[in-house]
Symmetry: C2
Subunit: 363 residues, 2 copies
DNA sequence: TTGAAAGCGCTAACAA
DNA sequence: TTGTTAGCGCTTTCAA
């Protein structure tokens, strides 16, 4: 249905469908029929650019004009076409957010925060899923670059060097998150997976644990946590340190895998008294399996998770886990992009948000 | 940094920054500096429109031209500007997906499926969060309509009638999901919350339960499930049917609320032998609380969840719950929008995907 | 099958 | 403070 502008004769629209009298010029074409800035300007009795200023930089326009334009917008129900605006201004106000998958609790907090924070600043989030396995990363990249976003937030990995190079070449501001790499593409908000593994090992050692093991996802970051955990465990002289069972499950991790993980582990290495899991869901699985076998936590078995999911504090026993401040990461990342768009260059492009071990009952 | 086109003299670019000799015409402006279709066309020795056809409708050009254009794309690393394309063609290949929040497991599956399915068809997902509480729905709507998406998928609620009206007026295809309303804005893929409440009551009645209660979120849909559960319970003569404890927690629901819910319930109504929870997370909380009180499930207390989260089958005991096919909903919704964009009109705009009660150990 | 012209709806640049 | 002009990069329309 065509839009309805209350009391204004659309007589002077150059290509208004009404003037079928004149022969159509070669190459001319009809508009989609929506209300445009031009309609608003006409109704307000100003030039289009003035209407544009009234909407985008109200301070640059007289109060009188501002009022007239706002009235016209109100009456017509005009909604600016951001595609056109983006094309003309070379600012899309769109930010691409890439996660391996939106399923699973891991990246929820960051996606939520980014969407909310950016929306408050007038940006929209375009969601991309890279998948954990090798997939068409190049197709995703093409789709992203094609939209000319004002920023890209990468959570999880951009695997191919080719993809990283193209992203860099595109000139789009990039924020990598969830890791600390020495050579980021552009900006970085993350934390050290190695440090986490090390600190958890020390924590368990200080708690007097002797035989440690891990139940971990097989994605690269999980593996790095696990490797450094194993290394530090060995260095501290914890038994089977060099022999820590790497129990690789596919990402994203599940409770069921945690149950199975503990079962397998106990079969191979009955003396285990501490387990570091690569997610809280795995940890919950370990706890349930232990419970069903009559193994007492933490007396006989200490369990440490990763992620500090919202439910972890309410488990029985409460889960000791590693907390990552996803909200903080999201806010920093958003700030990076908003600042860059505003022409503000920050001195430090790498932020380490760290982590904390939340000490509860399970370890 | 300016883009680098290997061996092609950019002599004839109208506004090339190089020709600073001529005085700048009034109103002329510099391009963003990226590689455009025009550059590709020039390199391939064809007109821009021909290059455009080679990329969008390869069958409409000769194999020779196709090859030349593809070579040129390859050499330049050209990525089409979808903002410009969208403006010209009035097709944005963007779909807005609105959920109350991306936090919490409820809408993950549908967001995941939509993102993936639509990406495969060449569409990108723009994410919007409406929030559970009354919020700036109009601002969100403005942001959505401003992008001129080829479709909007609404999950959860569009509360204000004003918002619904504007969406309708915008002419954008709309798919509402997660509910069955008699008068959808446009298209609808959902299920009946009332039926779920009723069927769960019957299920528990058939299982010989006598005193039922609910632990439920306070969002509108949860309440509808709970209300019809209460009604049917009463009709079937289950004790306290008319007196079912409505235990309203704020959405999204949490495990902790489930624990507290059971605790409160037992205080008020000790004889309860069955509980219907409005989410699996609440159900898990109820189970943990029961466990910590030595209440045996299902012998003393039957528990039914909602959502069939991935972990529910691995709990101890396995959770009986209501399954909603989020993937199916996502696929149908995507299909609706893709078809509409292709001009295919479906006869039936309302799809009821139903639900199923997954019978496991807890009830 | 290819191309010339025009224009999608908006804003940058310049001028008054 | 307001307006004129041109053009963002692409695709539609029409013609050859």
């Amino acid at each position: 249905m065509p839009p309805h502008i209350p009391p204004t004769p659309p007589e002077s629209r150059a290509d208004s469908p009404e003037d079928g009298a004149e022969p159509r010029r070669r190459g001319s074409r009809k508009s989609a029929g929506g209300i445009t800035l031009r309609d608003v300007a006409q109704l307000a009795g100003v030039a289009p650019i003035t209407a544009s200023r009234a909407l985008n930089t109200p301070s640059a326009v007289s109060p009188k004009v501002l009022q007239k334009v706002r009235d016209a917008v109100e009456r017509t129900g005009y909604v600016p076409n951001l595609l056109a605006g983006g094309l003309a201004s070379n600012k899309s106000r769109l930010v691409a957010v890439v996660v391996p998958t939106v399923i699973g609790p891991v990246f929820q907090e960051i996606v939520h925060t980014l969407t909310e924070t950016l929306a408050a600043a007038g940006y929209q989030v375009m969601l991309g899923q890279s998948g954990y396995e090798n997939s068409r990363e190049d197709a995703l990249l093409e789709a992203i670059i094609g939209r000319r976003p004002d920023g890209v937030v990468l959570t999880g990995i951009m695997r191919s060097a080719e993809a990283r190079k193209r992203l860099l070449a595109s000139g789009i501001p990039v924020v990598e998150t969830w890791d600390l790499t020495p050579t980021p593409i552009d900006m970085l908000v993350g934390f050290s997976h190695e440090n986490i593994g090390r600190e958890v090992a020390r924590y368990l050692h200080a708690a007097g644990r002797k035989v440690v093991a891990v139940v971990g996802g097989r994605d690269e970051r999980s593996r790095r946590r696990m490797d450094s955990f194993a290394q530090e465990s060995a260095a501290l002289g914890m038994a089977a340190g060099a022999d820590v069972a790497m129990h690789h499950v596919t990402a994203p991790t599940t409770l069921g895998q945690g149950r199975k993980g503990l079962a397998d582990l106990l079969e191979r290495q009955p003396g285990i008294d501490a387990i570091f899991c690569s997610s809280d869901l795995l940890a919950l699985g370990v706890m349930i399996e232990a419970q069903s076998r009559g193994i007492r936590i933490p007396e006989q078995l200490a369990v440490v998770g990763f992620g500090d999911l919202e439910f972890s504090r309410d488990l029985q026993p409460q889960l000791t886990t590693v907390r990552i401040d996803g909200t903080g990461i999201g806010q920093r990342a958003a700030r990076f992009i908003i600042d860059r768009a505003a022409g503000i260059e920050v001195a430090e492009r790498i932020v380490d948000v760290g982590f904390s071990i939340i000490r509860r009952e399970s370890a």
